[in-house]
């Protein structure tokens, strides 16, 4: 029963699920080859407007980063690297914060506040070009 104690902690559940989602993104980038170009996710924006958007080539970029081809990754999408680092950082944060949360019951509230502020700041810094793009056209 004690082994499943984490199931009663919403913070831990959220962390594990988000870590799982990030892992799935990494696996997706690893499975699909950038050379074959068989990605199932297509850009809806490009389909509708006929013009590539600021996030086009992101899947390619991720796949190339996973394979260590960094220069090519920048060619596909100039923001690919920073977004990949955001996801990698989030995966690390989810796991480390979960361990800290489980081991330090006294500082849980503080930890959650730091997590929210830190992750929000990281998110804004990483996705700022996309947000500017959205607000520029909307």
């Amino acid at each position: 029963m004690k082994k499943r104690a984490w199931l009663n902690e919403p913070y831990l559940i959220i962390n594990f699920v988000l870590a799982g989602v990030i892992m799935l993104i990494m696996i997706y980038s690893g499975i699909f080859s950038p050379d074959k170009d068989e990605y199932p996710v297509v850009c809806i924006h490009e389909k509708l407007t006929g013009e590539p958007c600021v996030s086009c080539g992101l899947s390619h970029s991720f796949s190339l980063i996973i394979r260590g081809r960094i220069d090519e990754a920048y060619e596909w999408n100039q923001y690919g690297m920073r977004i990949f680092l955001f996801f990698a950082g989030q995966l690390f944060i989810r796991l480390v914060f979960s361990v800290i949360y489980a081991n330090h019951p006294d500082s849980r509230k503080q930890l959650i506040i730091y997590d929210i502020i830190g992750s929000s700041a990281l998110f804004l810094i990483t996705f700022m070009p996309f947000l500017i793009y959205i607000f520029k056209f909307s």
Partner: protein, 173 residues
């Protein structure tokens, strides 16, 4: 029993928060931003159901409210992507596309003219005794030479020239 009652709606709230966070990340990526409206609505529904359950049992609502707020913001961002796509397409329809089509047509014209300037084309049509020969080229000296040769023969000549190309038509009887 009391503990279970107090946690009523919490699981829905957690599900709503996770869905809302994923939706929010999706919503700001223009490629998939438009489809993020679907998980966004799901997050709002989950949060709303969770909130109603939590209100009935007077259980904590922090996670549920977080899910609801992030879900609503994510859905709004996702919805704005439709305006982005619409405005983008409209801009291209009104201003950019005619310009681009004109540019493409001009490029093609330039390429064709450049190719014709470099090429020497000769067309010969024979119908019984009649024979029509059309020569197109830019080398004026060649044309003059051809004309001199033709002047020596018993022929009727029609000549037309412009700045870019030279055409001579010879009809032999």
């Amino acid at each position: 029993m009391e503990e279970a009652k107090n946690n009523s709606g919490q699981n829905l709230g957690i599900a709503a928060l996770i869905t809302a966070i994923i939706t929010f990340v999706m919503a700001v990526i223009p490629c998939v931003g438009m489809i993020a409206i679907i998980p966004g609505i799901i997050a709002i529904v989950l949060a709303a159901v969770g909130l109603s359950q939590a209100q009935r049992s007077d259980s904590p609502r922090g996670v549920i409210m977080a899910g609801l707020i992030i879900g609503v913001i994510a859905t709004m961002v996702s919805f704005s992507q439709y305006f982005v796509a619409g405005k983008f397409a409209r801009n291209f329809d009104k201003d950019k596309w005619p310009e681009r089509i004109e540019e493409i047509v001009n490029d093609v014209q330039d390429n064709v003219i450049r190719d014709l300037e470099d090429a020497n084309v000769s067309i010969k049509v024979e119908d019984g005794d009649q024979k029509v020969e059309i020569n197109v080229g830019t080398d004026k000296s060649d044309k003059e030479k051809t004309l001199e040769e033709l002047e020596g023969a018993d022929t009727t000549k029609h000549e037309r020239a412009d700045t870019t190309q030279h055409v001579s038509i010879t009809i032999r009887k």
